[in-house]
């Protein structure tokens, strides 16, 4: 298994993307995310055939999506990809065409964090009901019990 730095250098030369390393994660610009993911999936060196987890996070200055990729064929991993997008109209390319496993997870990130996945076959709310207006996992979401002192829990 290559180190994060080696993967970064390789990806930069092969896909022409500028990638920054954040801890164990590789921050990829959203325009190039699909290409990078496809390269990781199809190249025999990596064979990242298994998308384990998709997480949407609200960082106040923008929304982030984190992808954990593993290789079942080579029993290696993880390669952690991240991408950043705007808070107002956050659009990220969908990875569902590459991995079916992203379908429900992207719907969940759309539902709870409000990230729009471009190219998703069926982007609807999944856990909250249709017509619900907010994105509950955003940091500025108002909760009903917000006036209570959180330290008592």
């Amino acid at each position: 298994m290559k180190t994060t730095e080696e993967i970064k250098t390789d990806l930069e030369s092969k896909t022409g993307t500028s990638i920054t390393v954040q801890g164990e994660a590789l921050m990829v610009p959203k325009e190039k995310l699909f290409d990078v993911a496809k390269y990781l999936k199809d190249t025999p060196d990596y064979q990242m055939d298994y998308l384990s987890s998709v997480t949407g996070t609200d960082y106040k200055d923008g929304l982030e999506v984190t992808y954990h990729l593993y290789s079942i064929a080579k029993k290696e991993g993880p390669v952690v990809l991240k991408t950043k997008t705007d808070r107002e109209k956050g659009v990220v390319p969908s990875l569902t065409p590459l991995w079916r496993g992203a379908e429900f997870q992207e719907r969940e990130a759309y539902d709870l964090v409000g990230i729009h996945f471009e190219g998703h076959p069926d982007l609807r709310r999944i856990l909250m009901w249709d017509g619900f207006e907010h994105y509950p996992l955003r940091k500025d979401y108002t909760q009903e019990d917000q006036d209570r002192n959180p330290e008592q829990f």
Binding site: I72, Q105, E108, F153
Partner: protein, 383 residues
Amino acid sequence: MMEHTLISKPDFDTQTLEVSLGPQHPSTHGVFRMNVVLDGETIVKLKPVMGYLHRNHEKLAENMSYLGSMPYTDRLDYICSMTNNFAYALAVEKLAGIEVPERAQYIRIIMAELTRLVNHTLLIGFLLNDLGAFFTPVLYAFREREKILDLFEEVAGSRMMCNYFRFGGVKADLTPDFLPRVKELIQNYPRFLDEFEALLSENEILMARTQKVGVLPKELAVSASITGPMLRASGVPYDIRKVDHYSLYDRFKFRVPIGEHGDVYDRYYIRVLEMRESIKILDQAVKEIPSGDVISKVGAGFAKAPRNFKPKAGEAYGRIEAPKGELGFFVVSDGTNKPYRYHVRAPSFINLTILEDMCLGHKVPDAIIILGSIDIVLGEVDR
């Protein structure tokens, strides 16, 4: 998606019929709905609808101390509270760099494997319920499950919502008669499995109903992030206990059974085989368990004052082979005493992705057993 042509003939007009299976129906294992389009009795479209049990578990966890969510993880997959604790503890230990003493690791493995026995036994019982063998298999399964829940009660004080793991170890040491009781259990359990198998494995009705039903091809299973017994029944040898070597699993000798056809029967049978492997692990663990601390000093300190627990800023993803598949926790810390982001990668939820693919072309009663063979718990699907 498969295109389906209606079976109507020129002189005989037919229409498709839309039916809601659930949410209030015992075969959905909770509150879960399948919107099904039927052509005659054949399923031509199926959309799962979920969220009836949604309580935004992740938001709750982001508003309390790290240890505060430990009892909440019990309520995700409420059949397997011990493994939920395990995955969460693993993620946070990775985040904060906490070591776990050897005895605690052994205790954790014993609990995880006992949980696997509980889960798989119950699954087979409920699957038979879905097949129409009402309550007899389920009661046999419950009889055995009781014995394991008694053991959980003995160490954790609670039968289902165990809340037994702490960061850096476990809550309390084993009681003196715990290990002898586990020994007795692992002596008797294979006998129960033999009994179950004698009744079921070569049962003509079971075979007729489950073989070649709900086939999940290897490639689709991998691409759709299917994990656990579902994936292995499709013939992919991938077990996180073997791949990640988390905790002390590399010390144990056990095999990873895989299926051949990926149908409902394989998914039933793989669980029987996995239980036999779990018994092997338990047998080794009970023999080799060392004495010593059950929680590290650092962990014990934080267990007493959970709000002082402030991991340095960073993030960690901890995953284990839970009975239902890969259970992962992604925790992001910003240096305060509450997680900035807390995400659950729930196997039941993601394994539902391909429900439609497996059901297309089958009849309604087949859809019920296909759903049963996925092994979902709605507490985990909806979170």
